[in-house]
């Protein structure tokens, strides 16, 4: 067990090291997410009335796209000088590689949200810095990294990688996105706790379901 943790940590840390090496990409991705926010604020002109209406949607859509981009990178890293094969040469069960990458992605997504959400709060001046949001964004991030890592790994050997990943990823995570959006908008509209809770429960159920599945099937993916 301790050994497995060591391996997971080694891979996850390596990802972070590389990311920071690559001109701290985390900043870049958050900047990207912010840009997406910007584009929307231009595209859909925000005023106090519809800020509450469209804000949450825009926030989570942006995070979702930033997420896809980040995931694509996480495996693009392994593709250059196909180092994933080097990982596969190591005498470790392939689940560990998965969990390691997932861990890396999780850290990555979290980092970018820590930057994006406060700025969103300012731009849309919505009070989203509350613990409910913390919970929901945590759940969303977990779900994203579980599914995302899985599909990113799958679509890696596909030639149209950049496109294949969102194509697999987005439909599957829609419940998660819905949950995030809805609970957020309940929060910003000071909805009652039960209203929020039902969505958080949904997200929770989704996460549990897919973490179980993915840990179970990742084995299948890597071996050629």
């Amino acid at each position: 067990m301790r050994e497995s943790l060591a391996v997971i940590w080694a891979i996850g840390r390596k990802d972070l090291l590389l990311e920071t090496r690559n001109k701290d990409i985390i900043v870049a991705v958050s900047a990207f997410a912010l840009l997406v926010l910007m584009v929307f604020t231009f595209a859909i002109d925000i005023n106090q009335i519809n800020a509450k209406l469209t804000g949450p949607g825009i926030l989570w859509a942006s995070i979702a796209f930033a997420g896809v981009t980040g995931l694509n990178r996480a495996f693009a890293l392994e593709l250059e000088g196909n180092t994933l094969e080097a990982l596969m040469l190591a005498p470790i069960s392939r689940d560990l590689i998965y969990v390691g990458k997932m861990f890396g992605n999780f850290l990555f997504l979290t980092a970018s949200q820590i930057i994006v959400i406060p700025i969103f709060a300012v731009l849309f001046n919505l009070a989203v810095l509350r613990w409910e949001i913390l919970v929901i964004s945590l759940l969303t991030t977990i779900g994203f990294s579980a599914i995302g890592t899985l599909f990113a790994a799958m679509s890696m050997r596909v030639r149209a990688r950049e496109v294949m990943l969102p194509l697999l990823f987005l439909p599957v995570v829609t419940p998660l996105i819905m949950a995030a959006v809805e609970s957020t908008s309940h929060v910003v509209n000071d909805g009652s706790w039960p209203e929020i809770a039902q969505w958080i429960q949904l997200a929770l159920a989704f996460d549990i379901a897919f973490i179980v599945i993915s840990a179970f099937i990742f084995q299948q993916i890597l071996e050629d």
Partner: protein
């Protein structure tokens, strides 16, 4: 027990059948060289032995471990250097080696790294990013990566390509060390004379099967080259 036992390995890509019932085995301490014309299937074979590619059929035993059943154990016994160096371009050589040492769960890593760096002659570059290394130094780093966990079976795909004569002699030393310590090497190369010098056994692949398997003592370059030529009525597109 055999160091490596390859039984009826078959592999085909789409329409072309590249390996047809490959079958041979190596004793511990044996240094074998896989020869064959371009496109014979050498790299494919090595990738299969390294467990990076699944054969269509056939089975492989590494020191008695079935690669299908207990992959991790088999992988722990194997070290591979294939065509691509398989290193993280944006990490230093040292960081790369450290990472892989951790994945192989090795102890006192720093000493190991220094030791192997000397073996392959990359001490001076340990803290350079792999991206900035010349071709030959990347090759050396990859070799160091494969040696770190002192595998019982070493798989080398054209190891001498891109190496200058000094590091080729490094390589020869490593081969010698392996032979004397009763460990096993399977390598491919196109430099036949050199191969015959350093290896005990030559395996020539033609048309996807072992066309010649013999000790190198009684072989010369022309024997080998004649074995390269087709033995079968030429089939579809392969070779």
């Amino acid at each position: 027990m055999f160091a490596l036992k390859v039984q009826d390995v078959v592999k085909s890509f789409a329409e072309v059948m590249v390996l047809r019932r490959i079958k041979f085995s190596l004793q511990p301490g044996e240094v074998a060289v896989v020869l064959g014309a371009n496109g014979a299937g050498k790299s494919t074979l090595l990738r299969i032995l390294a467990m990076l590619t699944q054969p269509d059929s056939g089975s492989i035993y590494i020191y008695g471990k079935d690669t299908n059943k207990n992959g991790p154990e088999a992988r722990a016994l194997t070290g591979s250097v294939l065509h691509s160096p398989m290193l993280y371009a944006d990490m230093s050589v040292r960081e790369n080696l450290t990472l892989f040492a951790e994945l192989y769960r090795l102890k006192n890593i720093d000493i190991l790294i220094e030791k192997n760096a000397v073996k392959v002659g990359i001490q001076s570059k340990l803290d350079h990013r792999v991206r900035t290394l010349s071709h030959g130094f990347q090759k050396r780093a990859a070799l160091a990566r494969a040696l770190m966990h002192e595998p019982q079976l070493l798989l080398l795909d054209e190891p001498e390509s891109g190496l200058d004569s000094r590091s080729v002699s490094h390589l020869d030393n490593i081969v010698e060390e392996y032979r004397s310590s009763g460990r096993t090497i399977l390598m491919t190369t196109h430099i036949i004379e050199h191969a015959l010098e350093i290896s005990d056994k030559a395996i020539v692949i033609t048309d996807g099967y072992v066309h010649l398997e013999s000790t190198t003592t009684c072989l010369n370059k022309s024997n080998i080259l004649s074995a390269y030529s087709h033995a079968l009525p030429k089939t579809s597109g392969d070779l």
